[in-house]
């Protein structure tokens, strides 16, 4: 918890507690001073009361002294104190009454004293009048009665009680003042010592805490400054390498620009060649279309030949059927001739000439049969030749079909070739355009790399400056560590 306190908080706590104690001591001193002033004021009031009482008693004594001097001497100058006392006694009594306004017990005594003093002053006038009117003797007798002396004794007793009480109060206030002064001295003394001890303790704690925290921070600062110095060194080295790399990259980009221009020129030539090839491919496609038309004509002719040959085969079959019929007739004739020979043999001599005719007929039939066999073989040969021709022509037709299909495929291939060549031309145009764009981009990149090289030089300068700053920071951290912890610095 304490580790999370900031330096300001620690300083506030370290200085706050002594300041609070000082404030408390100040308040206590203020209160004590106020009490002492009040005590002094009350002591002064008491002295003033005592002085007024003494003044009242003195006036009464002056009045009595003047009365007695006048009675004894009869001279008026002795009445001056009496008259002065008569003139001032009421004022003194009024002042004394005001001073006793806050004390009920003294107020009661003052009431009695006031009555006695007024009566005494009033009664002192009777002997003076008797002396003036009746002479010394009468006046002396009147005084000798002793009423004035009794009132005077009472007045003295009351004034003594009042003065004694005031003095007792004065002694009590002096005791209170001494106790308050002693308490004030103790509190201020011990408070001052405690405040000093607390301030020293807080300062020690704060100093130790600050020493530990700032020490660790200084160590961190030292390590960070060392790392910063290493990083700055590495950055400076990297900046130098970046400068050299940027220079090499700039040269490479210039070569790349030249190569891109050569590629663009080559792509332009490829475009021209591809355009020529596309034209040639279109011409070849037209030639193939014409050849395909010719092949289709040949195929139609071959189909017609096939039709004629098939017709020839069918005709041969018709001839064969006729030959079969002839063969059938010859066979039947042969049978009839044999039967006629048999019948002629049965007829004896009469049938011999018929038998000869029948035999001739049979021979003719045999010859017809032989001829029909030859015709059949010939027909078979013709049919075979026709079939062979049909097969050959069909093969020719198939070959023509295949050739036509191949021409179609060739035409398609030429179309594809033309399309491919056009695509190649388009692609080469795009390559040319792209290469030109690329060369422009490479020029821009070259400019950017030059700017990067400039930036790298500036970075190099900054890295050197930062390295110097890091060295200074390291030195500063060591000085700070020496300030914080002298034994570590030593």
């Amino acid at each position: 918890m304490r580790r999370s306190w900031t330096i300001g908080q620690q300083l506030a706590v370290g200085f706050g507690l002594p300041i609070l104690l000082i404030i408390g001591l100040g308040l206590f001193s203020f209160r004590t001073s106020h009490q002492q002033v009040d005590t002094a004021r009350r002591v002064a009031h008491t002295h003033e009361v005592i002085a007024d009482i003494v003044d009242v008693l003195s006036l009464v004594k002056d009045a009595e002294t003047g009365q007695r001097g006048f009675i004894i001497s009869g001279a008026d100058e002795f009445l001056t104190p009496y008259r002065t006392a008569v003139d001032h006694v009421n004022r003194e009594l009024t002042e004394l009454g005001l001073l006793y306004a806050s004390s009920p017990r003294q107020q009661a005594r003052f009431e009695v004293l006031q009555g006695l003093v007024r009566e005494q002053v009033l009664k002192l006038g009777d002997p003076i009048a008797v002396r003036q009117r009746d002479g010394l003797e009468v006046a002396a007798k009147l005084v000798a009665i002793g009423e004035g002396k009794r009132r005077m004794d009472e007045i003295r007793r009351i004034t003594r009680e009042m003065i004694d009480e005031e003095r007792a109060a004065l002694a009590e206030r002096a005791t209170e003042a001494e106790q308050a002064a002693a308490w004030h001295s103790n509190v201020v003394g011990f408070g001052t010592v405690g405040t000093i001890v607390l301030a020293l303790l807080a300062a020690t704690v704060v100093m130790r805490t600050l020493d530990r925290q700032i020490g660790s921070s200084v160590q961190s600062l030292q390590s960070a400054s060392s790392e910063l110095q290493a990083a700055a060194t590495q950055q400076a080295r990297g900046a130098k390498g970046q400068v050299s790399s940027s220079v090499e990259a700039s040269a490479t980009m210039r070569e790349l620009v030249a190569t891109a221009r050569q590629i663009a020129e080559s792509a332009q030539r490829v475009t021209l060649v591809a355009t020529d090839n596309a034209t040639a491919a279109r011409a070849g496609e037209q030639t193939v279309v014409a050849a395909r038309t010719a092949i289709e004509t040949v195929k139609q002719q071959v189909d017609r030949i096939v039709g004629h040959m098939l017709e020839l085969g069918r005709r041969s079959q018709d001839i064969g059927a006729i030959v079969d019929l002839i063969n059938e007739l010859s066979e039947q004739t042969n049978i009839l001739a044999i039967n006629a020979t048999i019948e002629a043999a049965g007829a004896g001599d009469a049938g011999r000439r018929f038998a000869v005719i029948a035999d001739e007929i049979r021979r003719l039939a045999d010859r017809v049969g032989g001829s029909t066999k030859d015709i059949r073989s010939l027909i078979e040969e013709v049919r075979g030749a026709a079939n062979t021709s049909v097969m050959a022509t069909e093969d020719g037709a198939k070959a023509a079909d295949a050739c036509a299909r191949q021409f179609v495929e060739m035409s398609v291939s030429f179309s594809r070739i033309a399309g491919s060549v056009e695509s190649t031309a388009d692609a080469s145009r795009e390559i040319e355009l792209s290469t030109r764009q690329q060369s422009t981009a490479v020029e821009q990149a070259s400019t950017a790399i030059a700017e990067v090289a400039q930036t790298a030089r500036e970075t190099d300068a900054s890295a050197a400056q930062m390295l110097e700053t890091a060295v200074q920071l390291t030195s500063l951290a060591r000085q700070l560590a020496a300030l914080i912890r002298r034994e570590t610095a030593a």
Binding site: Q332, I335, I338, N339, T341, I342, A345, G346, A355, D359
Partner: protein, 146 residues
């Protein structure tokens, strides 16, 4: 085959046929006629050399397989019928081919002792013609006497 001589007696004429690889000669006076094969109706329990019955000139005649009589195996493709007289009856012979009418008396001898019993009784003589066995048939023996 030599045919035709006006001096040859009529009784010497013979019809030359081929059946089952054999060349056979049948006296013309026994021959009624030659013809193309006609439909044959098989007959149950007939002898193995009898193919059946065929109606020829309005008369049902037994059809005898001459090749079976000579070789013991059935003639596969009979291309001619030869109607012959056997006594007072007529029989149709199924043969492969009618070669012609021979005006010469066929030579030959009787069957040698080893073949006398093996060859059917229908063969009257045996001879050789063009390096082939030549049989002179006796139509009177073609059918058993009943």
């Amino acid at each position: 085959m030599q045919t035709g001589s006006m001096k040859t007696p009529a009784e010497r004429l013979s019809l030359v046929i081929r059946a089952g690889g054999w060349l056979c000669a049948i006296p013309v006076q026994d021959v009624v006629e030659t013809m193309r094969p006609l439909p044959i109706e098989p007959v149950r329990e007939a002898p193995p050399f009898v193919r059946g019955v065929s109606v020829i000139r309005g008369e049902p005649l037994p059809v005898v397989d001459l090749g079976f009589l000579l070789r013991g195996t059935e003639t596969a493709d009979a291309r001619r019928f030869v109607t012959v007289r056997t006594g007072n009856r007529r029989v149709a012979l199924a043969v492969d081919e009618v070669v012609g009418v021979s005006r010469e008396e066929p030579a030959g001898k009787s069957a040698p002792p080893l073949l006398a019993e093996a060859i059917a009784v229908h063969v009257e003589r045996l001879a050789a013609l063009d390096a082939q066995a030549f049989a002179v048939l006796n139509t009177a023996r073609l059918l058993p006497v009943t």
